[in-house]
Every structure is written in C-alpha cells, then in structure tokens.
Symmetry: C2
Subunit: 379 residues, 2 copies
C-alpha cells in the first residue's frame, strides 16, 4: 500500500494521530488556511528552515524512515540550539513520491513526532505535495530566546577559549559503514525476527556489527541535537559565540572566526575524536584528525568562551547533558590553524567549493562548504 | 553558466543583493545559525508553508523563472490573506537542480523579491540545497493579526451571505493556453526583440495572443494575492468565515461549509466568471460554470458575511482593492448545492480524490482535493 492509495485527508489524519494535544498558545491549528499562535512575552523569536533531500542528504537504501524523520527535525533543532533558543513549533512540508509506502510515510512521521515530543516542539501546520522525483522533507522551526541571551557567531574575541561538545567523527564513520553495507550486503543468518523485520523495513542489510560500530551508525542515523546545552549556555551567558557543527568542526571554526573577525588555533591533540572513528579512519590509512574535523553530520556545538567568564561554563556543563572539551583558542592573528606536533598548519577544510559538490547550504549560515573528504558525507 | 559554477556563498549573495535593508525588528538576519526577530506586540502570529514542485505545480517549459518565484510567494500570501493577517517575514528553502541556469536562478529570486517588497515581507533566512530531481521552492511565511480579528473557516452560520473577490476561471484558461502553446508552438515572426528575449528566457513560445487571452495567462502566471482585502475584512470584522480559492471556488465552499457545520446554495447566474474564460470554455464545448468553479489557481477569497454586519463590508470593499460579488448563501440544510435554471444540484467538485491525482495539500487546509477537470490544473 502506497500513499497514492490514500486521500490527502487520510495522510493528514495519520500525522495528526501522532501529535500530542495542542498547547494553549495555539489559537488555530491544522485545518485552516494558516496556523495562529500567541507569541511568548518578553522573548525574541528564532526561526530556521532546513531541507533533507533524498539522494543528497540521505539514501533510503540504508536510512530507515524514522531516522529520516528524526534527522530532518534534528538538523533544525541543532540550529536553534546554536542560538540558545528553546524550541517551540514546527511547520512540516513534505514532497512525497507517489510510490512511497504508507508504512514508510508512517515511519517518517513517527521519527519526527517522537523527537518533537521529546524536545517540546508542536507541529502546527504544513504542506503535503507529490514529488516528481526525490522524497523531500522541509521543516521550518521556531523557538524563543531572551533577546540579551542570543548566541551569535560574531561575539568571539582574541583570547577566547574554544570548546566543542560531545565527540566528533562518529557520524562520518557511521555513514561510511552504512554505505559499505549496501555495496557489500551480508544477510543475517541469526534468524532473529526483530532484526530481520528492522532490516526489511529500513532496507538496512547491515548485520552483526560490533557495538562500537553500531554506536557510530546511530550517531549518523539519530543525531542528538544539543538543545539543552544551548539553553544552558544562553541562560548562564557563558558563550561569546556559538555555532553548530552540521558541516563539520573545521567549517564551524572558520565561520566563527570570520564572523567574529578573529583567527583560531586548534590543538590537534585535544580533539575529542570518537575512539571508534579514530580506529576506523586509521585502519583505512586516513588521517583521523583531518577526517574527524572535516566530516559532517556531527550535530555538536562549537562554543567560544571569554577567559573571565569561564566559571559560568561549569553550570552550563552541569545541566547541559553533554561534556565540553577545550580544543583551542581565538587569536588576534586572522589565520585559522591546526597546531600539531609543535607546528601550525592551515586548518584543513577551508577551501572554496562549488554548489554541485556541496551537500546543502543555509542562508542562515551564509557559508562556503569546505572541500569534502570523499566518503565522509552523504552525497 | 549554471548554479554549479557558483559557490553557495555566491548564490546567497545574489539573493541578498535583491533584498531591501533589514527592518529594525530583525535582530539577527542572514549569516547566523538562525534568524532572530522581535515579535509584534499585542498581535498573534500567523504561520503557513507552501511548496511549489516542478512538474507538479509548474512547468518550466512555459512558466518563466520570475513567475515561478512570484507564484511561490503568492500562494503563501494568499493563505495569510485568508486569515486576515499582515505579512511580515519569509524563510526561503530552495532545492535546485545543478543544471539550473544562473539567469533562471536570478529570475526566480527576482520574482520572489519583487512581490515580497510590494507586500512588505522580509526574507530573514532560508536554505539552499541541490535537488537530484525537480526544482522545488518552499516558502514559510509569517504574519500578524489581532487575536480577535482572525478570519477562520469555521464561523459561518445559516443565513450568512457568501461573496467571492475578483473573478474566477481566468487562471485555468491561462494555464490551458500556455500548455497548448508548448504542444503546438508557433514562433514569433514579429522580430520584436523584447518579446523574443522574453520567450527564450522563459521557454514560452506563445506569440501574438489577444490581449484578452494574455490577461488570463497573466492571471495564471502572476496571481495577485488578496492581502489588502484580507486585512480590511479583519479590521472591520466584516467576515464570519474566510478562505482562499487556491483549489477552486467549489473546494472553498465545501471547506467553509464543513468547518462551519452549514450547507450552501451557490447561484450559478451570479458567479463572476472572467468573460474571456467563459468564452474559451464555451468554445471548447465545456460548461463554463463547472470549469470556473472547479478550476484552481484563482487566488481569490471566499467570504461569509452575517446579514446584520453587511454594512461593515462596504468599508472593506472600499479599501480592499478588489470587488466582491455575492454568489450565494449559507443554509441550515447541510447540502452544498448549485442553484441553476430554477433547480438545485450538488455543487460539482465535492468528490474524493487520491493523493496521486491531487496537486498539493496543506496540513493547514486538511482537505480532500475535489476531482479535477482535466486540463484545468497544473499536473
């Protein structure tokens, strides 16, 4: 059964069935020409939009529908987190190939709804249309923040310390593993029903992976946006600049440096590279540092902190739900460098790239995508 | 030169170059992880999203790039108009085929920017990505309205009069003409440079059309959303229910009737069918009334008005910039009928349709698309 067998009213009802009861600030929800909401008092509104396009940002051969939904919302939540905003509402615009299975449609919606509920985002409206080509999920997300607490990219000064949340490199390895699994499929022989079901539903033919690799795969499939950390950094006014790593750590360092008018020195030895990722990169003869900082899909935060306000960071870290690692410093000199084995070289990933080679760009971000290491990104 | 020859920064710069200076309520605009805006005091916020997909909502063979951009914003403005909201800001999400000409990209953006400026919409952010298939333009639009002035679909009562703005049927005829022009191309022999340029840029090979037909074509290519009328209806509290006609007048009547729990009787003789459309429909042996009420792309408003508040309508009409025509009445009996030649029959266009046959659906609208007259819609 595909979505072509349903009316649009039925598809919309399937979405509505997964949504929690409407919040009291929602004056008019699904079922009119537009949604009407009561603004939150004394808060500025933060708005972002990001689209996931099949064949560009995900491959249905190895990304299960609920992970596609999760990722589509997560990339937007990550943008709000980077501004220090509390998520509030989403508009959901789906372009669906007519042959899409209803089960996959449901899975996609379930992935969005589950993350939305957990992050207190309410879906207030949207749009469904056929696609003559790829599946596309476009989510517009709004949140709120106190105007004086907005985390911009442009506030870093020479001497500020740079921190990154969580670990980096895992998602790039996860993607690599998933890709290899479809190129060289190995069918399960365990007869585990749940596994087999999961595989046939998701098209994921990867089997009997080690827990370590599985962790990397999950980091790619279901990234955890750092919403809570962003909120804590904003509330404690602990950050002088902040940005998310959607296009890799290196890109984020270049962006914050450019927006703030500073340079940066990143300490290669301090980078919190996910151990499994380091292992896999090294086993393939690649440089783990370069791969980890240029690989995308790590939805962590890069944070600049004034030396004198470093104390405020403790509270943010305590309640932010994820560790921060000090990885470098902002410099007066405008160069962005990697400090390694006693020498400084330009931080890899600062190149010019053409639109065709880029995964996606955001008007919010206004960036050039750095050159990509082949295989570390969804193309 | 195609967009693949540009970096994303260059494409974004081309967009920014067409935007007016940022308004003072925009705290953080293009160039950060998300936009930050100051909410408007004492007003509710109205949000909508609509996507235009190549091959579903437009055909690049006969819709020039600036018209694609214009339409993408216009369909959203029409939704805000139907709520009585003043437009405020837009997020622009574009999925672009790598082979898209830079000139076409610029045209698309120019079409959006021109209508945005005229309707005081500021583009505060967005997203650019490659598409592996069709060109897609997804616009999220917000506006504001006083909470007590929101125009819903659900407020009509038996005895309320139904009005429609402007004329209907013209866009459907315009689309038909454009389609025929690409099926049976006739090259211009006038040697008019401007015409030839326009044609080669747009792929539109239609030539020497009568001014009457040209008017229908423009109604399809560059619909005028009834923003001012919506505002006036809201301010004067002149409407008990309101909806836009994006899916045709018939669909709108069914939707308002269903949402309000009333029936409706539409007077066939009173319908403001565009004279040129009536002529073309009749010449093709089709029933002009059925074609005009089931044809889409008329971005007019359907308005229900309480008999005792009919006086308020005068002010709304005076400043709304478009005439309103009385076309029928809401009834206690839940049937939705067309009154014609002394008899009542079910209003055409109330059928059930599958997703594959529908042009687009909106979670806001939560509707079934009525059955379509072949040829009257973009497929």
């Amino acid at each position: 059964m595909t979505i072509s067998d349903c009316s649009e009213r039925e598809l919309i009802a399937r979405i509505q069935a997964r949504l929690p009861p409407p919040p009291d600030w929602l004056l008019v929800g699904i079922g009119d020409d537009a949604a009407v909401v009561e603004p939150e008092r004394h808060r500025a509104e933060v708005l972002t939009v990001d689209a996931l396009v099949e064949g560009v940002h995900f491959d249905r051969a190895f990304v299960p529908p609920d992970a596609i939904g999760h990722r589509a919302l997560a990339v937007n939540l990550s943008d709000l987190a980077a501004m220090g905003a509390a998520p509030r509402l989403a508009l959901l615009s789906l372009a669906l190939p007519p042959g899409l299975l209803i089960a996959d449609f449901d899975g996609l919606v379930a992935g969005i709804a589950a993350l939305a509920e957990r992050t207190r985002v309410h879906v207030v409206g949207g749009n469904l249309t056929r696609s003559t080509g790829p599946l596309m999920i476009d989510i517009s997300l709004t949140g709120t923040v106190k105007p004086r607490q907005v985390l911009k990219r442009s506030g870093a000064r020479p001497g500020d310390t740079l921190y990154v949340s969580g670990t980096i490199g895992a998602a790039a390895v996860g993607l690599m593993m998933l890709r290899n699994s479809t190129t060289h499929p190995k069918r399960s022989t365990t007869g585990d029903t749940k596994d087999t079901e999961e595989q046939s539903r998701s098209g994921n033919v990867l089997t009997s992976v080690s827990p370590v690799v599985e962790r990397c795969i999950q980091r790619y499939l279901r990234p955890e946006p750092r919403v809570r950390l962003g909120l804590m950094l904003a509330r404690n006014r602990a950050a002088s600049a902040c940005m998310d790593l959607s296009d890799g750590l290196s890109d984020a360092v270049y962006q914050i440096a450019a927006a703030s008018g500073v340079g940066a020195r990143i300490d290669a030895g301090a980078l919190p590279i996910e151990p499994c990722a380091r292992e896999v990169f090294a086993a393939r003869g690649a440089d783990p540092v370069t791969e980890a900082i240029t690989g995308g899909d790590d939805y962590e935060l890069l944070v600049a902190v004034r030396p004198r306000t470093r104390g405020r960071l403790a509270a943010a870290i305590r309640h932010g739900g994820v560790p921060l690692t000090r990885i470098g410093v902002c410099t007066e000199d405008r160069a962005v460098v990697l400090s390694r084995d006693g020498g400084d070289t330009p931080l890899p990933g600062g190149g010019y790239s053409h639109f065709r080679s880029a995964e996606a760009s955001s008007l919010d971000h206004a960036r050039d995508d750095p050159a990509r290491v082949e295989g570390s990104r969804a193309t």
